[in-house]
């Protein structure tokens, strides 16, 4: 297998990537994950990879292997060094473009080529010693080794080094008297400083101020320095002719496959770095078992990724949940108190499938997930005044569109929809939609206040958010399988304020 891409097992033409952000990313807060993870990595243009779910489990496996290799710390360290080197090369090449004086520019270029060569050699030397198991890295490693051993690469470096050596050994003298400058062959002479120090050493009482100026030596060159350099070139014509030839002959010295690798591997590093602190806080991630046919799913200790990212940075606790769907079960109907984490739970379901579909580890200790072809979300939205339709109308239009574009491999997530009508209407419409979803056999999470949906048919499973018993104002953010019971919450609130039937009766004075 010849190495082509660290992201795809099979060759993927670039036009299959989504360039637009899928609609579900905002509703699931995944845009936050992507934005944060890619901060500082804008130059790699990685968003299309995060916008595009993989189409087959083979690619997922390929990426999971690569990511597992990276999660072994040593490899990560080398990749970061490589990333820094490549970034440096790009930055310096861009700066070189702006340089004006020929011999100056050519020398800077020479340094960049040497730097590039060293970066390649260093990675090629280190990679084979690491415990690499993925197909992606094994083939890349082979590619890199043969590249750095190629005659073309070796000659490039050898010539660059020889020229540097020749230039660096050129010593010369500059005599400045008022505005006249002479560039001369090297004139050996004594150093002043020590003599001056020796003469006045007797007065030394202790350490005194350091008067040395912290002069900086910028990369740029001014016209006087350029003139001096012309003088040096005039005194040493051969060395400078060789430099000139090297520059003109090697403008495209970087290997394209390696440049592509540098960009693509950032996809993994971005995510790795994003979840790093969350892992350190003790939360587990796992590589999900992903199936394109089996819709039985089973997840242990999963959590909302961007929320965890935020809570960990604030040193707050993160609540994890379990859920599963087995047999014919397809739809999780989530009910429970307000502010109890229902939306978070629904988002987590979507995030897990999204991350699994990218071939990345998911937030949870164990996961068996379905490879979906798309995720449709419908979250309650602010009423749009520019839109002539009513909110209910909007809702239904959107639902119609979703149902029209669903395939059995799509995941649908609905959050508190159809609230802008009467309960009876809501129940009626919801049941209609539920029938369609059932017919389509899609996987779905439906957050609702309509208890009746929870026991709609054999495909629905009821998940209820729990409160701390005795103190209903405290949420546990935990969800478990149980029959929906809106009253349970109302009664516990009443108990707290001694307003239940019996309590209130006793308090009423006869």
């Amino acid at each position: 297998m010849v190495f082509e891409s660290i992201l795809f097992a099979s060759t993927v033409p670039d036009d299959s990537l989504h360039l637009e952000e899928p609609a579900f990313m905002v509703d699931l807060n995944i845009n936050q994950v992507v934005d944060t993870a890619l901060k500082g990595k804008e130059e790699y243009n990685l968003k299309p990879y995060f916008y595009t779910l993989l189409a087959n489990t083979e690619d997922i496996k390929y990426r999971q292997e690569v990511m597992q290799d990276i999660e072994r710390q040593d490899l990560y360290r080398y990749l970061k060094a490589f990333e820094g080197d490549m970034r440096n090369i790009r930055k310096q090449l861009a700066e070189t473009e702006k340089l004006y004086y020929q011999y100056h520019k050519e020398r800077v270029f020479l340094d960049i080529v040497i730097f590039y060569g060293q970066a390649m050699e260093s990675l090629a030397k280190n990679l084979p010693h690491l415990p690499i198991k993925s197909r992606g890295f094994i083939t890349f490693c082979n590619y890199l080794t043969s590249y750095t051993e190629s005659l073309q690469f070796k000659n490039l470096l050898a010539e660059a080094r020889a020229i540097i050596h020749e230039l660096s050994s050129i010593k010369y003298s500059v005599h400045i008297k008022e505005l006249r400058v002479r560039v001369l062959d090297f004139q050996p002479g004594d150093d002043y400083t020590e003599e001056v120090q020796a003469t006045f050493a007797k007065f030394k009482q202790g350490d005194v101020k350091d008067y040395r100026s912290g002069l900086s030596y910028p990369l740029g060159m001014n016209h006087v320095e350029a003139k001096i350099l012309d003088g040096v070139a005039y005194l040493n014509p051969d060395a400078f002719a060789r430099l000139d030839a090297f520059y003109k002959g090697n403008t495209r010295f970087q290997d394209e496959t390696i440049v592509r690798f540098d960009r693509e591997v950032q996809f993994y590093l971005a995510y790795f770095e994003y979840i790093e602190n969350i892992k350190k806080a003790g939360l587990e991630f796992c590589y999900p078992q992903v199936s394109a046919v089996d819709k039985e799913i089973d997840v242990t200790a999963c959590f909302d990724l961007p929320l965890a990212h935020k809570l960990v940075s604030e040193k707050k606790a993160v609540v994890a949940n379990d859920f599963y769907l087995k047999g014919h079960e397809r739809i999780l109907v989530v009910t429970g108190p307000n502010q109890g984490g229902k939306t978070t739970f629904a988002r987590t379901f979507g995030q897990l499938h999204y991350l699994a579909g990218l071939g990345l580890p998911v937030p949870g200790s164990r996961a068996k997930l379905f490879l979906c072809n798309n995720i449709f979300t419908h979250f309650e939205k602010e009423e749009n005044v520019l839109n002539l339709r009513s909110k209910l109308e909007d809702d239904l239009a959107r639902l119609h569109w979703i149902l029209g574009h669903c395939t059995p491999d799509t995941i649908v997530i609905m959050n508190e929809i159809l609230t802008s009508t009467t309960l009876q209407d809501g129940i009626f419409l919801s049941k209609k939609i539920m029938e369609d979803l059932t017919r389509l056999d899609v996987l779905c999470v439906w957050v609702t206040f309509i208890d009746e949906l929870a026991s709609f048919n054999e495909k629905t499973v009821s998940m209820v958010g729990a409160v701390v018993s005795g103190d209903p104002s405290q949420r546990t953010f935990k969800f478990s399988r149980m029959p929906a019971n809106g009253l349970a919450y109302a009664i516990s609130v009443a108990e707290k304020y001694q307003l239940t039937y019996s309590e209130l009766k006793k308090r009423i004075i006869p």
């Binding site: 400045i176 004594d190 002043y192 009482q205 005194v208 101020k209 100026s213």
Partner: protein, 502 residues
């Protein structure tokens, strides 16, 4: 080159460490008057006098005697000492003439250093001339060494060499830099190197080969070109400019050290002159080893009081051998506080190497001196005042050692006599058993008497004298504590009571 006029083997600046309770001492002993007289309007002398006096208890006897000898020399050669002080002051002021700008480019550092060095070499020459002329009139170890050093170090060779550097670094023949192609084919580092010595034809010397080098001129109106040249020069002279500036700095610090140490003796001369004009005695004390507990003196007076009143004041005599507790009782306004201050002042003056205000004085050195004086009544309630006193005592105790000396003035009297006495007893017993030397002015009869009846061998009791007619002599005599402090006298005096004198 070290001055070493304060310590035989050390600089004053590096050793000065003020007593932790300096502020209290300044207040209680009215040291401000003493400092001001020594300074005679010179703030710098004020500062050094203060530092010398308040760090004196850390000196050993050798240092005290070393300074006494130098001070004796100074008194004999006042004009020379004052001239050294003037010279070093002027040398230090010369700095401002060349360093008023903020720019710190190496070229300007070099330029300013050269200007400064030229001045400093002039002052050094004058200093050397003083040494040549007057060294033979000085006897002390300190001055002899100092003058010999000047003569040796500031000889002709040094002066010639120093001037040679200055001339060369003025670059009348241009500057030659060596460098090497570095990053980006820029020359790095540029390093100044010496031009060949031959007066004539050095340019020819530089072109022995056929190839004449590569010459170009920066256009006179090319400002950025001129700046670029300056940058190259700056880089090239950076190190040598630093060396020269640091050399200059070292000479300044030499003058600074000289001014500091000579300031102390100048201050002593000022004080000596004032006391002489009042006709007040002063003498060089005999410091005794720290393990002894001795105070033997004649004609000891409160120098701050004499200076403030501009006249001679009452002096006291005492012989306290193997005593570490002196309790002073007696009449109000009887000179007790004045006496206590004179003890403290003499101790500080002796230990920093000065003469003392007494006809003769001999005492053991102490490691630290503390004062615990009753503070002026303020708006604080009485209970708060005792609290304040004990808190001050506690912070003193944080620093006490058995070779410390402590002066109490009406301490622990903020409460009733029984309680105050008991507190005082417990504190003082602990102190004297640990060997601390205690002077205690009190009108707490219970407290004083309880020590008197114990007939302690290491205790001495002094009493403010009162004549039969009730008039004070302000002299202290040995004597048993008396139960009244003659408040009635005071009352009578103030209210002009006809029964006064009973």
């Amino acid at each position: 080159m070290k001055v070493f006029l304060m310590f035989e083997k050390d600089n004053f600046e590096t050793r000065k460490k003020l007593l932790p309770n300096s502020a209290a001492l300044v207040q209680d002993l009215e040291l401000g008057t003493l400092f001001a007289t020594m300074a005679s309007g010179d703030e710098f002398i004020y500062k050094i006098a203060k530092e010398a006096l308040l760090s004196g208890t850390f000196n050993d006897i050798e240092t005290i005697l070393y300074r006494q000898d130098i001070l004796k020399d100074s008194i004999e050669n006042q004009l020379v000492v004052r001239e050294i002080y003037r010279l070093s002051t002027e040398a230090l002021l010369s700095r401002n003439e060349h360093w008023w700008f903020l720019s710190s480019s190496p070229s300007s550092v070099l330029y300013s250093s050269i200007a400064s060095l030229k001045d400093l070499l002039g002052y050094l020459k004058q200093l050397k001339a003083l040494a040549d002329e007057h060294a033979s009139h000085f006897q002390s170890k300190g001055f002899s060494r100092f003058f010999a050093m000047l003569q040796k170090e500031l000889d002709e060779d040094f002066m010639a060499e120093a001037w040679k550097h200055i001339k060369e670094l003025e670059f009348h023949d241009g500057a030659l830099f060596n460098t090497q192609l570095g990053k980006g084919n820029k020359g790095y580092p540029y390093q100044l190197c010496k031009l060949p010595q031959q007066k004539q034809g050095w340019v020819q010397m530089l072109f022995p080969r056929k190839k004449p080098g590569y010459t170009f001129n920066v256009h006179p109106r090319d400002e950025s070109g001129a700046r670029a040249l300056r940058e190259i020069k700056d880089e090239g002279v950076n190190v040598v400019a630093n060396a020269l500036a640091q050399s200059m700095e070292h000479i300044f610090s030499f003058f600074s050290m000289l001014k500091t140490e000579i300031a102390f003796y100048t201050g002593c001369l000022n004080l000596h002159g004032q006391l002489a004009s009042l006709g007040a005695d002063c003498s060089f004390p005999q410091p005794l080893p720290g393990h002894l507990r001795t105070h033997v003196f004649r004609g000891l007076y409160d120098v701050s009081l004499a200076l403030a009143m501009k006249q001679k004041v009452v002096a006291n005599d005492a012989i306290a051998e193997n005593k570490n507790l002196v309790i002073i009782t007696g009449a109000n306004q009887g000179g007790k506080s004045t006496f206590l201050r004179s003890i403290g002042l003499a101790q500080l003056m002796m230990q920093c190497g000065m003469f003392v205000p007494a006809a003769s004085f001999s005492a053991n050195t102490c490691s630290q001196l503390f004062s615990h004086f009753k503070r002026e009544e303020d708006s604080a309630m009485n209970s708060g005042k005792l609290d304040e006193e004990l808190s001050r005592m506690s912070s003193i105790a944080d620093n006490l050692s058995s070779h410390s000396m402590i002066l109490f003035n009406e301490s622990f009297a903020a409460t009733n006599e029984r309680e105050g006495s008991e507190i005082g007893r417990q504190i003082v017993n602990a102190l004297i058993e640990k060997g601390v030397k205690v002077f205690f002015v009190t009108h707490l009869y219970d407290f004083a008497q309880s020590f008197y009846v114990r007939k302690l061998e290491n205790a001495l009791f002094l009493r403010a004298e009162r004549q039969a007619d009730g008039a004070r002599t302000f002299k202290l005599v040995e004597g048993e504590p008396l139960q009244t402090s003659f408040g009635k006298d005071l009352y009578n005096k103030i209210f002009d009571n006809p029964d006064a004198g009973i």
